[in-house]
Amino acid sequence: MGAYMSEKKYTKDHEWVSIENEIATIGISNHAQESLGDIVFIELPSVGNSVKAKDEICVVESVKAASDIYAPIDGEIIEVNNNLENDAAIINQDAENKGWIFKMKISDSNQYSELMSEDEYKQFLEQ
């Protein structure tokens, strides 16, 4: 973890978010990966799009189902993980690192602090 990397936070839609220098990196949680099963395809979001928290912005297709990925906070999509285009299974192998899906320039850091910490997310999963 870099010096300016914040702690990783989680949404109720099973996404993780980490922030470095106002850039948020987003993926799906390891728990989400496990319940989706083999992931075969991801429709990546378009770079340059401005999105609001809770907007559906891309889709992960697993052998079991299609799942929408939501923007966790407001911002602009600035980069997507093109490696997933050819090998979406990277998400199964390493959901919370190499399996990152997109990066956003965020506009409201308060939204980030309202997300769940890792411990809170664990408790959320147990409910």
Binding site: G37, D38, V40, F41, E43, V59, E61, V63, K64, A66, N92
Partner: protein
Amino acid sequence: MPFAGFNMPINYKTGIINEHKNVRNHSGIFDVSHMGQILIENNESYLHKLEKYIPLQLNKLIKNRSHYSFLLNKNGGVIDDLIVSNIDIKAKSYLYIVYNASRKKEDEEIFISCAPNAEKIYNKNCLFAIQGPESINVLKNIIDIPNNMNFFDILISKYNNNEIIVSRSGYTGEDGFELSIPNESAENLITHLLKNENTMLCGLGSRDSLRLEAGLSLYGHELNENITPIEAGLSWALDKERLEDENLNGNKVLSDQLKNKLSNKKIGLISTSKSMLRDGMTLFDNNNNEIGKITSGCFSPNLNKSIAIGYIISEFNTDNLIFCEIRKKLELVKINNLPFVKKNYKKNGSIYE
């Protein structure tokens, strides 16, 4: 996940794709104990009553053979698809029928009305399917399997001094066996089979992708009470003589359908992108006219693309482009003959004696 009143695993720990490939290349074991199993005494009066629903000549079934068939409603629609076998158990002759878990209530009402002493055996017998080209190697050291046993042959064998029903069958497109074994020996048998390192437990997910690649129909998807076996492209499984028999439900509808053009046809589809084709998606021609629907779709591990089965209107010329609506966008899909993956059965003989 809940399935027909049972809590069933979609997959075990290595995942659907891995289980799927293991069955195609080696073997895999499915616990299908949720399915219905019933024994009906092989008696003239019972068979005659059953022939109202089952489009076979039940009194002519060859001993130790199985047949894919149906229960039909009065319009020729499919109440259920099933496997019916003629087999002796303790010197008594029976029809042994395996049917879908989701249709137990409807099926059993019919079975009991035709044969009041029909004996449901699924509460005392587990049912396991071992599927894949290496199934015979996994089984043969554990259970006595004659060398000349063909696909859809069925016999009684022994395990742990228990009589078990062994049929060479399954629903994956591969060679394989189904084993009906008393509960008390079931766990031993599974443990015993799993000692072979090349086999593994498989769940509902790979069962579905394997049967779809093999182009096999699934009740509730390609089959229901409003679709006849002919409309479902399964007329090969009907005894054509029985279509002349007034005692068979829907016999007129079925024989008319055989002679005339059908309104719909079943097709196989392959995705041209990485998107997944799924049950319920709508199909269009290149003028945006709706021409049909997908009834089953999945990711095909063998083709590394999504595949589907669906019904489209018969007038549609399959040389034209077909589009599928996937998340509000139309994507081009390609027609593919069924099955997607060649079946690999140990050859069988004729139906009747």
